[in-house]
Structures are given as C-alpha cells and as structure tokens.
C-alpha cells in the first residue's frame, strides 16, 4: 500500500549548463529567430488545445530547451496537435507553429 501523503520527492532541479544539451536551442535560434521575442507571458500555454487535456506546457518546453534540458521535451512535444492557437494569441508574434516544427526537426537531427 502506498499512502498518498500529499507531497512527492522532486527530482534534482539544479541546472548544469556545461553538461546540458544546447543543440536544440541553437538549432531553434538559427532557424526560427522569432523565438527570441518570447517574454514568457504564458498566453500560448493558457490557450493550448493539447494542454487542456494533458500535462503539456508549451512555454515550459521553451524554457527547458533554453536550459538544455531536452529529455522531457522530446517526450512532451509529441503531444502538440499543431492547431496554431498559441501562435494566434502570442502578443510578441512568435511564429510558434514553426517553432514546434523546428523543434521536431532538431530532435530528429540531434537524435
């Protein structure tokens, strides 16, 4: 029997920039520079179709990519439906569908 104590043990959240994999971030910067306009407002996540049903957070994905923590990104990005709502609400004009497409490509190329 596992008792639910209402808390869990978090995984180590320290970021080691020397060891992290910045290849996706670099690829993204090179191929969809509008990503740099992001101010992290979270509008994209608030409207996200996929995020409505499942733990999927497009802003968190950017953040992880920027930090080079790509393991979860690789799993998460598969959930995007590509509907484009995020792009339409983004106040900064980030070309989000292409961001996602570019992340897909970067993952494919970096393995």
């Amino acid at each position: 029997m596992v008792k639910n104590f209402g808390y869990k043990i978090l995984s180590d959240a320290s970021i080691d920039f020397d060891r992290n994999d910045k290849r996706i971030a670099d690829y993204l910067k090179a191929h969809e520079p509008s990503m740099n306009l992001c101010i992290g407002c979270g509008s994209c996540t608030a409207t996200c179709s996929a995020g409505h049903f499942v733990d999927f957070n497009i802003r968190r994905i950017h953040t992880f990519i920027r930090r080079g923590e790509t393991n979860q990104v690789k799993r998460d990005i598969l959930k995007c439906m590509f509907c484009g709502k995020c792009q339409l609400v983004c106040p900064r004009g980030v070309n989000l569908r292409n961001v996602i497409l570019t992340i897909n490509r970067a993952i494919e190329q970096t393995g």
Partner: protein, 622 residues
C-alpha cells in the same frame, strides 16, 4: 531516292530522337502508375467517348490555349499562334505534299522542306476548290500567323506588363538554347522559302514571293547558295530544338497532352510522389501566370511561388523552406493554364520532409475529454472558433432558437480536426486525432455534423469518411432560414463578404454564404471575390513567415476589401475573422454573428445570458 539532300539530316535525326525520347518517357510514366490507375488508363483510352473528350480538351488547351485567352487575350493569341499555327503548318504541309507527290508515303522531312524539292510553276499553282495557288496562299498565311506570335514573344520579353504579367521567369541554359532555336525556326523557314521562290522566280505565296524577289535583288552573292544555306539553317534549328526539347521547359508541350489524358481518365494526384506528379511537374510551361497572383509577393517573398517550387521539384532540388513557404491558398492552382494541382504537390514534398517524425495522442481518451451525449446535430466549433467565442455563442443561440437538439462536441476544449498537422505534411500523425474525433462523433448518433471552421469542414469532407452529412455553418443556417426554422429581422447596410480560402477554393462553397447574407444585408461588391478572392493573410499553410509578413499580406487584402467602403466585413471563418480584425478599420463579423443579431430582439438579449428563455421562445414560435 530523288527527294533527298544532306541538309534534311539534322531535322530528321532530331525528330527521330525526339519521338524516341518522348515515347520512352511516356512509357516509363505510364508503367510507373499504380496498378489501379494503369487499369483506368488502358480502359479509358479504349473508351471512344472518354478518348474523344480528352482529345477535345487537348485541342482547346494545348492548341487554342483557351485558359490563356481568359487570362489575357494577347498572351492567349501569342501561345495560340505558335501552337495552332505550327500544328496547321504541319497538317496542311502534309496534305499539300500529297497533292504534289501523288502518294501517301512521303519521307517525314518531305512536307517540311517541300519548297526545296518542288518549284515547278505548274504543280505549284495546283488548283484546290478551284482556287489556283490555294496552298501557296494558305502556307504563307499560316507562316505569317506563327511569325506574328514570334513578334509578340519578342515584345513580351521587354514589355511583359502588356501581357498581364508583372514578373516572368528566368531561363536556364538548355531553355535558352531551345528558345533561340525555336525563335530561329520560323524566320529561317521564311528566308529559305523566299530565297528559293526568288531564285526560281516562282513557287512563293503572297509573302514569300515578293520578299524572295527583293532578297535576290539585294543579295550580292549567288542567291541559290544563300537559299541552300537557309535550308540548312532551318533544318539545324529544328534539329537542335528537337534534341534539346526534352531537357528544357518545352517538354511541357508533349507532357501537357499526357496530363490532359490522365485527368480525363480520372487518374488523381496521390499523397506521395507518383508518376502523376512527375507528369504535372513536367507539364508546367513556366508561363509565370502563377507569380503575380501569389500574395507572398506582398510579404516580400519572391522565391517560393508555384513556378519556382515546381522548377525545384523538376530539378530534384527543392530547398526545404521553399516547401514550407506557401499559404496553400490555392490561388495559383486556380489560374494555372495547365491546371497543375500546385497545392497537393507542395503537400507531397512536405510529407517527405517530416516522414520520420512522430506524434503521441494516446492521452486522448473519453475520460479526459468527456463522452458526448446524443443528439440530431453535432456541432464542432473547431480550435479557431475557441479564439472567437462570439461565433460559438451565435451558433448556439441560433440552434436554440431553431429548436434543434444539438451536441456541442468541443464544448470543453477542442481536439484538433487534424488538418493543421496535415498541412505540415504529417498525415500519418494526424490520423490519431482523426480517429479520436470520429469516435466521438459516432457516439453522438447524430445525422448531421456542423462546423464553424472551414479548415475543419474541409478535412471532415476529405479525410473522415463519415456516414453522416457535413455542413459548414453558412450552409446549415441557410437551410434553417429556408425551412422557416428561424425568422430574420435585422438588416445591415454595406457589408462586404470575404471568401475564406478553405471554404471557397478549397471546398467550392461560394453561394451559400452569399445567399444567406443577402437575406440580412446589402452586399457591396468586392473587387476580387469568389475563386479570385484573396487570402486573409493568416493562413496556417505557411510556416516560414514572420508576423510582419503576415500583417503585410493582411493589409493588402484589407485594402482590396475596403475598396467600396463597406461598414462591416463579413466572413465565414474564425481564422479570417481573427486575422482581419487586428488591422481592419471596420467591424469584422462572422455570418453566424450577423444572423444571430438579426433574430427577433427578445431572443437576442435572452440568449446572451441564459439559454432557457430562448428555448421556450423558440418552442412558442414552433
């Protein structure tokens, strides 16, 4: 062999090479068709009616160039004079040569170089229909016809605007060689025939004889040598043109014929690159008609229009971003004189780019989305409508007033219809979404699916294979009005209707929205509408465009829509509304909203709050 001279060889060898090459290519294409298409092809060409209708279109398109005429008469005439003129020259030349030789078995070069072999006064003034010199006149006339096209082609290089083209395509090396030869063929023929007629003092028609006499008079050396070298020049330009043709843009001439046959025999484009695609790509004449209509120009993108993309495919090198840089608005397809399915070609290339990528929609379960209840009509608002809640509110109000028992399938967040993924080439991945939505729709036991989004509408019709009727809300509301389910009272002045790409060109729905609107509004004319409508600029089809570029396209579309000073812009697509709204000087409303506002007042106020009073009012009405 009496009728032989060494100079016929370049032409003769070139012709043999060309026929063999085209034969081989066609054979390869037909052989590579999927089995089902092969059966269609073989059955089709044996079917006299199908065969004749295809032949008729070949005549209208490949010779008369009907669609070019529609585009611009000058352009149409130029293409027709070359194609039809040359064709008639060959046909009439053949008939003429039979009169003189008295046999049907002439060497293929004989009719072409007839005037070299025959210059006997008596035969040449042969009477046909009791007109002496009938063929002399006819052949000169046809030659003049072709030459007039040539003059136009030369002018077009300088003044393409006169031909309705702002921009034209550049040439590659083989194209230039081919073109130079093509342009030389007919002047050479003119000179050769004129010199010969002048030298013998007979044999020419109304144009070649006087010109020949003049040439002979002013030529300082022996004019029979001049004539002979012109015959060589004529034969050489023909020969080189034939040999370079399969490697140049002129391959489109024979290929278009095959494409017309394919289409008539109902061979469709595939989802992957097939020999049908190959035929389409080779059938592109690079006429450049698709360049000016493309709105990417407004965004400063000018390397990605259909003609450049197709050239890339043909040369087996399409830079990735060119495949992704296209609104998929379908405007180029609409005007293409060859009728190439440019959008589906672009999608084929996109599919190739993303074939290795996956998606995971296993999280979609009815526990998460909620199982829908049952009803007669299932309403699917679509993701985009969730960003324009006024449309959803209007639709619900309308259906409630009409007393329809509906199920709002995506009330609690929408599962995307799958088309945005397919637009990116991810058909396989979209299947997960399609399957799930199909299951939900099935659970409602509805007989009619209504959607507010043309993007969803298109994919429901094309990919879902649903056993029930599918309507866009403009069609649905129109039916409600026609059957008297909703009364309309309001009236709007000066409304301009904007055709959404996926509803109009994509699905062929042009009349329903107009008919519906005309019941509640005075429509002002829109300069470019129906199949010539502009994209709002917000298309999901393009990936490589910045927000500024999207805005630039939208601005041009708005300028066009505002031409006749409408007070309201009406559309039938949440994405168009959302896009236009940002920059429009006047209100942008969906048809559903306008209809909702036209309903009798009590309902209008009540329905915005709770739905019960509306329902009881509706019941009263019924």
């Amino acid at each position: 062999m009496i009728n032989f001279n060494l100079f016929v060889l370049p032409f003769f060898l070139g012709l043999i090479y060309l026929v063999a090459k085209i034969g081989k290519t066609w054979y390869r294409w037909i052989k590579a068709l999927p089995a089902i298409d092969k059966v269609k092809f073989i059955a089709g060409i044996r079917h006299p009616q199908l065969f004749l209708s295809a032949l008729k279109e070949v005549f209208l398109e490949a010779l008369i160039h009907r669609r070019m005429w529609k585009r611009n008469p000058l352009l149409g005439y130029m293409h027709m004079s070359f194609a039809l003129g040359w064709f008639l020259l060959i046909v009439c030349g053949n008939i003429e040569s039979r009169f003189y030789s008295g046999t049907h078995l002439n060497a293929p070069y004989y009719p072409i170089f007839l005037k070299f072999f025959i210059h006997d006064k008596l035969v040449l003034f042969f009477e046909v229909f009791s007109v002496p010199g009938f063929f002399r006149f006819l052949m000169d006339f046809l030659l003049l016809f072709v030459l007039s096209g040539l003059v136009l082609a030369l002018i077009k290089r300088q003044k393409s605007k006169w031909f309705g083209l702002k921009r034209t395509t550049e040439f590659q090396l083989t194209d230039s060689i081919s073109l130079a030869c093509l342009w030389l063929i007919f002047p050479m023929r003119l000179l050769a025939e004129s010199y010969t007629a002048g030298y013998y003092g007979s044999g020419g028609g109304f144009m070649t004889q006087p010109l020949g006499n003049l040439l002979v008079a002013i030529t300082p050396f022996r004019s029979d040598y001049a004539a002979y070298s012109m015959w060589w020049g004529y034969s050489l330009s023909l020969g080189i043109f034939f040999i370079t043709l399969p490697y140049s843009r002129y391959m489109h001439i024979p290929t278009e014929v095959l494409l017309i046959f394919f289409r008539h025999l109902e061979i469709q484009p595939k989802k992957w690159y097939s020999s049908f695609s190959d035929v389409e790509v080779q059938a592109c004449s690079r006429c450049g008609v698709c360049i000016d209509v493309c709105q990417l120009n407004d965004a400063g993108i000018n390397d990605s229009q259909a003609v450049y993309f197709i050239r890339g495919v043909r040369d087996k090198y399409v830079p990735e971003e060119i495949s992704r840089k296209c609104l998929l608005c379908g405007r180029c397809q609409e005007v293409c004189p060859v009728g190439i399915s440019t959008d589906s070609l672009r999608l084929i290339k996109r599919r190739e780019l993303v074939s290795g990528q996956a998606s995971d929609f296993s999280y979609l379960t009815t526990q998460r989305t909620g199982a829908p209840c049952q009803g007669e009509v299932v309403y699917f608002a679509g993701c985009m409508s969730h960003l324009t809640p006024a449309i959803i509110r209007a639709m619900k109000g309308i259906m409630e007033q009409a007393g329809i028992s509906y199920v709002h399938l995506d009330e609690n967040g929408s599962v995307c219809c799958g088309r945005p993924l397919m637009i990116a080439g991810k058909d396989r991945q979209a299947q997960g979404l399609i399957d799930f939505n199909k299951r939900l729709i099935g659970l409602t036991h509805a007989k009619l699916l209504v959607t507010s989004c043309p993007i969803c509408y298109r994919v429901f019709r094309e990919e879902y294979n649903l056993p029930i009727r599918i309507q866009h809300h403009s069609q649905f509301i129109l039916e409600l009005v026609k059957t008297g389910k909703i009364p309309l009272q309001g009236h709007f002045k000066n409304v301009a209707y904007h055709d959404p790409c996926d509803l109009g060109r994509g699905s062929g729905v042009y009349t329903a929205p107009r008919e519906l609107l005309s019941k509640i509004a005075d429509l002002v004319p829109v300069p470019q509408d129906a199949n010539n409508a502009l994209c709002c600029g917000g298309s999901l089809g393009i990936f490589e465009a910045s927000q500024q570029q999207h805005n630039a396209m939208t601005a041009v579309t708005l300028d066009m829509l505002m031409k006749n000073q409408p007070e309201i812009l009406a559309t039938a697509c949440p994405l168009c509304k959302k896009t236009l709204e940002k920059q429009s000087p006047v209100a942008v409303k969906d048809i559903a909203e306008l209809v909702y506002e036209s309903l009798p007042k009590p309902v209008y106020f009540a329905a915005s709050g709770q739905s019960h009073p509306a329902k009881s009012y509706a019941n009263e009405l019924i």
